[in-house]
């Protein structure tokens, strides 16, 4: 699992966006909202990411109903949640350590 960390920003936000069932367009919109438009996922980027996350078993297809042409929805798996938690821990450590920089500048 370790070799996948750090997650790319795109993967991190996609995992976050599928904490509840979500479809492709919904993921794009949610990530845009969360980042105030800074991260806008292109269709190719998102498609590739979903394929690879599915292959790794970090997300799964939640619902698929071709008859009613309802959009395919994805949901994070337990393995995905584990990876997300590990990544969050890493990011927290990063932020904690970033505090040293602030201390340094106030001491000056």
């Amino acid at each position: 699992m370790d070799k996948n960390i750090p997650l790319t920003e795109a993967l991190f936000y996609i995992l976050l966006a599928v904490r509840k069932p979500n479809h492709g367009y919904g993921i794009i919109q949610e990530v845009e909202q969360l980042t105030d438009g800074r991260v806008s996922l292109g269709a190719g980027t998102l498609y590739g990411a979903i394929q690879s996350l599915e292959k790794k078993g970090w997300i799964r297809i939640y619902s698929e109903d071709t008859a009613s042409r309802k959009k395919k929805e994805y949901l994070i798996t337990d393995a995905g949640k584990e990876v997300f938690a590990a990544e969050t821990k890493r990011l927290e450590e990063l932020l904690q350590n970033a505090a040293y920089m602030r201390e340094e500048s106030t001491n000056d």
Partner: protein, 230 residues
């Protein structure tokens, strides 16, 4: 309306399609270099070009995904897929981060590499047939020779794009020679000249020139580090 173009650079091709779309011509089909266009409201569509996983076929998941996102698959050709989206629905970009862009261009580079190697094999077969005096083979040898040159340039150009992207990620790219060796060009020209003039020069001379040409080409190819590196 039909326009003929040969593109070996998908970014330039995309630019061209978008420029025409802005002027009111929407691309609707492609066949072997022939693009068909229909009149449209100027700026109605935005075009993008992707590289798929299947030859002359589109992955069902891919098709479904794009359709769900309001993207229309206009045409697939070889591994290439031409897509468009209504401009009124906002920006249309395929690859928006460095990692996925690197992946995309690496796929393109590897496809060009595979085709180059295939053409190289064809080239030697045609050379051999041309040797036997087949006039068509002479024509094809020269044509494939030019194509080889163009393909090799496409590989090197794509390498440059990948190196630039990797630099943005903070990776230091090794300085590779990204120009086509003059030896390769010289070899191709010598071989063509020998084949065209084969009736007016004696056989041993022709054979000598061709062997030299082939040596030049092979050495020239190995000098293109951008081609041999992974």
């Amino acid at each position: 309306m039909i326009k003929f173009r040969l593109y070996f650079d998908k970014d330039k091709e995309t630019e061209w399609l978008n420029k025409l779309a802005k002027e009111g011509l929407a691309m609707t089909g492609f066949f072997a270099g022939f693009y068909t266009f229909e009149k449209c409201e100027p700026g109605k569509y935005i075009y993008q070009i992707d590289l798929g996983d299947k030859l002359f076929a589109i992955n069902e998941n891919y098709r479904e995904f794009m359709e769900e996102n309001g993207i229309e698959i206009v045409q697939s050709w070889g591994y290439w897929i031409i897509l468009r989206k209504l401009a009124s629905e906002g920006e249309f970009k395929l690859y928006t981060d460095v990692d996925s862009s690197i992946e995309h261009y690496t796929k393109i580079r590897n496809m060009f590499k595979a085709v180059t190697i295939l053409e190289l094999i064809c080239f030697f077969i045609e050379c051999f047939c041309a040797e036997a005096g087949n006039t068509w083979a002479i024509f094809f040898t020269i044509l494939i020779g030019i194509l080889l040159f163009v393909l090799l340039k496409a590989v090197l150009h794509t390498n440059e794009i990948i190196a630039e992207l990797k630099e943005r990620k903070g990776e230091v790219s090794e300085n590779t020679e990204n120009k086509i060796s003059p030896l390769l060009t010289a070899g191709l020209l010598m071989n063509s000249a020998a084949l065209i003039m084969q009736d007016s020069i004696s056989n041993p001379i022709k054979l000598g020139v061709q062997i030299l040409a082939i040596i030049f080409m092979l050495v020239g190819l190995t000098q293109c580090k951008g081609f041999t590196k992974k």
